[in-house]
C-alpha cells in the first residue's frame, strides 16, 4: 500500500482556526473516502477532541502511545460519523516536553502505513510543541486571518517551517469577510499573498455556523449550506489534486446583490 501523507496545520498566532481547520479538512477528506488520522499535538491544551465531539471517548492519548502504555490502535478513536476518520488525542495533564521530535516522527511513520492522510494540529507558538508538530510532516498548511498580527506571525512561521525542511507550505486565509474587503476595511487575498509570497490553498469566509458546529461538536463540512463548510470541502478536494477555483465569497442571496444584478452592476 502507498504511504500516506502527513500534513501539519500551523499558524504561529493562536485563535486563527487551526483546530477548526484540522477537524473540518480531516472530516472532508474522510467524506471523500480517504482514511484519515487527526493528531492533536497541543499537549496540555487539547481541544481537537471537543471540536470533533469525541471528548467522551478518550481512554489513551498520544503520550501513552509514545511511552508504550498502550498500542497505537488502542489510543486511536474512531469518529462517530465516519469510519474512515480517526483521532489521536493529546494528553491533557502533561506538558510539551513529554514527547520528542524523534518520537513524533516514529509515530507518524507508523500511521502512514495504514492511512491516506495524517493531519497534525499544531499548538500556537514557536516553541517545542510547534517543533514536535512539524517533526514528521511532509507538508504544511499555514492558517492566517486577515489581520496584521496574524499575517505577521504567519510570515515568521513560514520561515521556520521552511528552515525545518518542510518546503512549499500553502496558505489558508480564514474568517475573511467579503463586505469588509469590499469597503476597504479588510486586507484582500492578493494583499496577503503578495506580502507572504506563498501559494494559496483556500479561503474560508467568516461564518456563524462555525460557532454552532463547535457548540455541537459536529464539523461544519457535514452541511453544504454553510459557506465555510463548502470552503473546507473545496480545500479537501484541492488536496486530492482537483483543480477547484477559489470560492466566490459573494453571498448571492443578499437583497443588495439581487438589486445590483437587476440594474446591471455585477
Amino acid at each position: 500500500m502507498e504511504q500516506g501523507k502527513a500534513i501539519v496545520v500551523t499558524s504561529g498566532k493562536g485563535g486563527v482556526g487551526k483546530t477548526t481547520t484540522t477537524a473540518n479538512l480531516g472530516t472532508a477528506l474522510a467524506l471523500l473516502g480517504k482514511k484519515v488520522c487527526l493528531i492533536d499535538a497541543d499537549i496540555g491544551l487539547r481541544n481537537l477532541d471537543v471540536v470533533m465531539g469525541l471528548e467522551n471517548r478518550i481512554v489513551y492519548d498520544l503520550i501513552d502511545v509514545v511511552e508504550e502504555q498502550c498500542r497505537l490502535e488502542q489510543a486511536m478513536i474512531k469518529d462517530k460519523r465516519n469510519e474512515n476518520l480517526f483521532l489521536l488525542p493529546a494528553a491533557q495533564t502533561r506538558d510539551k516536553d513529554a514527547v520528542s521530535e524523534v518520537q513524533m516522527q516514529e509515530l507518524i511513520g507508523e500511521l502512514k502505513e495504514g492511512m491516506d492522510y495524517i493531519l497534525v494540529d499544531s499548538p500556537a507558538g514557536i516553541e517545542q510543541g510547534f517543533r514536535n508538530a512539524i517533526a514528521g510532516a511532509d507538508s504544511a498548511i499555514i492558517i492566517t486571518t486577515p489581520e496584521v498580527s496574524a499575517v505577521r506571525d504567519a510570515d515568521r512561521i513560514i520561515g521556520m517551517v521552511e528552515a525545518e525542511g518542510v518546503n512549499d507550505p500553502e496558505l489558508i486565509i480564514n474568517r475573511i469577510r467579503k463586505d469588509m474587503v469590499d469597503r476597504g476595511d479588510m486586507m484582500n487575498i492578493d494583499d496577503m499573498l503578495e506580502i507572504l509570497a506563498i501559494d494559496i490553498l483556500g479561503v474560508v469566509p467568516e461564518d456563524e455556523g462555525i460557532v454552532v458546529s463547535t457548540n455541537k461538536g459536529e464539523p461544519i463540512v457535514f452541511s453544504n449550506n454553510h459557506l465555510a463548510g463548502k470552503a473546507f470541502n473545496n480545500i479537501a478536494r484541492r488536496l486530492e489534486g482537483e483543480d477547484i477555483p477559489l470560492m466566490d465569497l459573494e453571498n448571492n442571496n443578499s437583497f443588495l446583490v439581487k438589486i445590483k444584478k437587476f440594474v446591471g452592476l455585477n
Binding site: E147, R152, R183, G184, M187, N188, V263
Partner: protein, 93 residues
C-alpha cells in the same frame, strides 16, 4: 432628468465597492514595514542608517533623487532579497 436619477441610484449602489479608502491599506503598509524588520532583524533606526550609508556610497558615483529612494525586503522562494530602487536625477541639458 431620468438619467441623473439613474446616476444617483448607480452611485448609491457603487459606493460600498470603493477600495483603498478604508483601513486595509493602512494594515498592508504597517504589515510590510513590520515584516521588513522581522525578516532582517534590523531596527527602523538601523534601517535608516544603512539607507544613509548606501546613499552615500552610490552618490559618490551617480546622482540620485534622494527623496524617491525606495528599499524593501521581500522573500522570493526560500531566500530573502533586499530590493532597493535609486531613481537617477534627470540629466540637465
Amino acid at each position: 432628468m431620468v438619467i441623473s436619477i439613474l446616476d444617483k441610484i448607480r452611485e448609491f449602489f457603487t459606493q460600498e465597492e470603493k477600495t483603498d479608502s478604508g483601513s486595509s491599506s493602512v494594515a498592508k503598509e504597517r504589515l510590510q514595514f513590520i515584516l521588513v524588520q522581522d525578516r532582517i532583524k534590523l531596527s527602523p533606526q538601523q534601517m535608516e542608517e544603512m539607507k544613509a550609508d548606501l546613499v552615500e556610497v552610490i552618490t559618490r558615483y551617480i546622482e540620485v533623487d534622494k527623496e524617491k529612494i525606495d528599499m524593501d525586503i521581500s522573500r522570493e522562494e526560500e531566500k530573502m532579497a533586499m530590493v532597493a530602487n535609486f531613481p537617477l536625477k534627470k540629466q540637465r541639458k
